[in-house]
């Protein structure tokens, strides 16, 4: 028999290293010879999309097409510290560093262009890689021409900036601290499941997610993080476990260590709550880790709703479900 259940879980995640640990990112922007804008950042794109975020932010501030922006690959000898791609921090930290660098570059574009145009700063604007006087839009200089003119003066048109917010080290006895994390991301998930009481198998049918992320720089990639995170959460809830016996791993292969496949993928419905109210770039908060956290408890709660049995250890495998169902039946008899 298949029994339907649904469960809810709401989570918080304080992102960034926090706890008083120095946490910053440095980024710089310069003009490349091939009419490209070069962003230097050491932020590792592990598939989550930070480089896309960086391109969108730089393009937004400099009002150029994203295709114009190029990022040099991470290299300790060509970039400065961006911190890790972990702690759900890159959009917030490197996003802000790039935004600050782009704003610094834009200020310098206006500075040098105002000399060229014999104009005041407020009379200038930029669009599509050109800087021009607002009252004479056809009288324009491209960023690269301007960079060349600056170079002829013996100076460089580039900018470097960082983002370095402070957090407080918590009191070791109480954990108390005024600002332990830069901000929190909040997520609620509702999971709908079907428990097969004959096989013990749990099928996750649907996952609804509402995430308070401040602002999605790239909504599709945010949804990707949530859906990918939920799949890892399904693994944690229902099947994944490194089985160790006396320190020896018994399932060090993907035949015996199960992870969810496309067949385990539920339907997703996601709502992004965007109040643009954080200190992140354009109000954004991080979503990397929060995407996975609510899923396992939402599923565990849904299983309880379906069969009236609460599980206290993960993963909730078919074996455990069948054993618990048998105990439940024996108790009733």
């Amino acid at each position: 028999m298949k029994r339907f259940g649904r469960g809810i879980a709401t989570i918080m995640f304080g992102f960034g290293y926090g706890e008083g640990f120095p946490d910053y990112s440095v980024a710089s922007i310069e003009f490349a010879e091939d009419n490209k804008i070069l962003v230097r950042t050491a932020a590792a794109d592990v598939g989550q999309g930070v480089l896309t975020v960086v391109v969108q932010i730089a393009a937004e501030v400099l009002k150029v097409s994203p295709e114009v922006i190029r990022i040099i690959p991470g290299d300790t000898h060509l970039t400065k510290n961006a911190g890790s791609s972990s702690a759900t921090r890159q959009t917030f930290f490197t996003g802000n560093a790039v935004k600050n660098a782009a704003q610094a570059l834009l200020s310098n574009i206006y500075h040098y262009a105002s000399i060229e145009f014999r104009s005041n700063y407020a009379e200038l604007s930029v669009k599509g890689g050109y800087v021009f006087r607002v009252d004479q839009p056809n009288n324009k200089i491209s960023f690269w021409e301007l960079a060349q003119k600056v170079k002829e003066k013996g100076e460089i048109l580039r900018a470097e900036a960082s983002f370095f917010p402070r957090t407080n080290k918590p009191n070791p006895e109480t954990g108390r601290g005024e600002k332990v994390y830069v901000a929190y991301t909040f997520v609620t998930q509702i999971a709908e499941v079907e428990v097969d009481t004959i096989t013990g198998n749990v099928q996750v049918l649907k996952i609804y997610t509402a995430a308070d992320i401040g602002k999605a720089i790239n909504p599709q990639n945010v949804e990707g993080q949530i859906e990918g995170g939920a799949m890892q959460g399904i693994g944690m809830a229902l099947m994944e476990e490194q089985v160790l016996k006396d320190g020896v791993t018994l399932n060090a292969n993907l035949t015996d260590y199960l992870i969810p496949t496309a067949m385990d993928m539920p339907q997703f419905e996601t709502c992004l709550i965007e109040k643009e109210d954080s200190d992140g770039p354009f109000g954004a908060k991080g979503i990397g880790e929060p995407g996975t956290i609510a899923t396992a408890p939402a599923i565990a709660n849904a299983i309880f709703d379906a069969i009236g049995i609460r599980f206290y250890d993960l993963p909730i495998t078919p074996d455990k479900i069948l054993k618990a169902l048998k105990e439940q039946k024996d108790k009733k008899l």
């Binding site: 590792a44 791609s85 693994g235 408890p297």
Partner: protein, 423 residues
């Protein structure tokens, strides 16, 4: 202000290269005259190395060199927070889990390197294997590291926990357990190393989540100035926390330095699963009190985080779990303690959620049990306890901005067409 590119679904800038197969992951790279490495791993999870005989393996045609701890006395331990991880285990030293490295085999090809692994003879003095953190903290348990098996203890205290429980009409006291998990990124640990004899710079092409941190840790372990270690990031096939710790990097650097030839090391999936970091297995004892009208009064936790053989990010992971013990709910009285424990299991480090994922299973189960026992709809129960502007976290951080937790509950319930149920 309306925006042109922020908020738009721009296609990921690196997706085209990945989709058409042009993106180069570490194992796709090669250099002329490149040698291949394999690592001889521990033969027992907790033992003293008494003999390491590489003479037969060295004689195998195609073996260029086998590096043991005796060849590199100047090399120091490494580690993200505490430098407790040896690069190679020497004679008289302890192996503490099955992933510890005993020797670096360098060969003309992978097959010969694998053959040589089987020809290395190892003798050990076995010690008690500690695979359960509860056993690890017993007084007579052998210490895995010099300072005992409790690596770190962290505390949390807010309000008055006794008063909080006295105000409660219902107290739920449960124990939760989670397992060791592997991140299973598509790409296993892999990298290349090149030593430039002229500049004496070692260049490593390997995935890491933080190139400058890996550079610094490598430099201190090898006793070199930072600028002599260059790390270039190839395409990365997933990470999820597993690429925060050093994996292939130091073995590549040593092999490149000592052979003066380009070298490559790629783990097998089995090796990756046994050797590289895991999600901590947690034991969480949670005791939560609420009034009959459904308001939380007290929350107490005890956390035991099994960090395996080495510290990695362990103390920070378990601490962060502790600091998230109540979830996003107003609780005036909180008390907690968290222990990070060494065992002979695979070392545990960062994994997506960093301790808070395990903790969420505990606190959201507690919330569900309380709602059920109180006969209050679980959505309503969460809503009425959820943070708002001005709320105070377990760390007593006052949240002044961007507290959309209630919106998330309401929106999720709306999407799921959640009808309030009262039991």
């Amino acid at each position: 202000m309306s925006k042109m590119y922020v908020g738009e679904n721009i296609i990921k800038v690196d997706s085209k290269e990945k989709v058409i197969g042009k993106a180069l992951y570490p194992d796709d790279l090669s250099f002329e005259g490149m040698l291949y490495l394999k690592i001889k791993r521990a033969v027992h999870p907790h033992a003293i190395l008494r003999k390491l005989d590489i003479s037969k393996a060295e004689k195998l045609p195609g073996i260029v060199k086998i590096i043991t701890a005796a060849d590199i006395p100047w090399v120091k331990n490494f580690g993200l927070i505490i430098k407790d991880q040896p690069v190679l285990i020497g004679i008289g030293q302890k192996m503490r889990y099955m992933g510890d490295a005993l020797a670096i085999v360098i060969a003309e090809n992978k097959e010969i390197a694998s053959q040589a692994l089987r020809l290395i003879e190892v003798e050990v003095e076995k010690l008690e294997v500690i695979s359960d953190p509860i056993r690890a903290i017993e007084k007579d348990a052998p210490p895995i590291h010099n300072n005992g098996n409790i690596l770190a203890t962290h505390y949390l205290e807010k309000g008055n926990i006794e008063k909080g429980f006295a105000q409660a009409d219902l107290i739920v006291d449960k124990e939760y357990r989670t397992s060791f998990l592997d991140h299973i990124p598509l790409q296993v640990e892999s990298g290349l190393g090149v030593f430039d004899a002229k500049t004496e710079v070692i260049t490593i092409w390997a995935a890491t989540q933080w190139i400058h941190d890996t550079q610094a840790d490598m430099a201190q372990a090898l006793g070199l100035p930072k600028e002599k270690i260059r790390i270039i990031q190839p395409a990365i096939g997933g990470a999820f926390g597993k690429r925060e710790d050093i994996s292939v990097h130091l073995h590549l650097a040593l092999a490149a330095m000592l052979t003066k030839r380009p070298v490559k090391l790629t783990y097998t999936r089995e090796e990756s699963m046994i050797t590289q970091s895991k999600r901590h297995a947690f034991i969480v004892r949670a005791k939560t009190g609420a009034t009959k009208t459904g308001y939380l009064t007290a929350w107490q936790v005890e956390v035991i985080g099994d960090t395996g053989a080495y510290a990695s990010s362990g103390p920070a992971v378990v601490r962060k779990g502790l600091y998230h013990c109540t979830g996003p709910y107003n609780v005036p009285n909180v008390k907690g303690v968290a222990y990070t424990i060494y065992t002979n299991n695979t070392y545990a480090g960062a994994m997506r959620g960093f301790g808070t994922t395990q903790m969420a299973f505990a606190y959201e189960s507690q919330m569900d049990i309380l709602a059920f026992e109180l006969g209050i709809d679980p959505v309503r129960f969460r809503l009425q306890n959820a943070y708002e502007i001005g709320s105070s976290t377990p760390n007593q951080q006052i949240l002044n901005t961007s507290v959309g937790v209630k919106d998330t509950i309401q929106e999720a319930a709306r999407m799921a067409n959640w009808k309030e149920e009262s039991r």
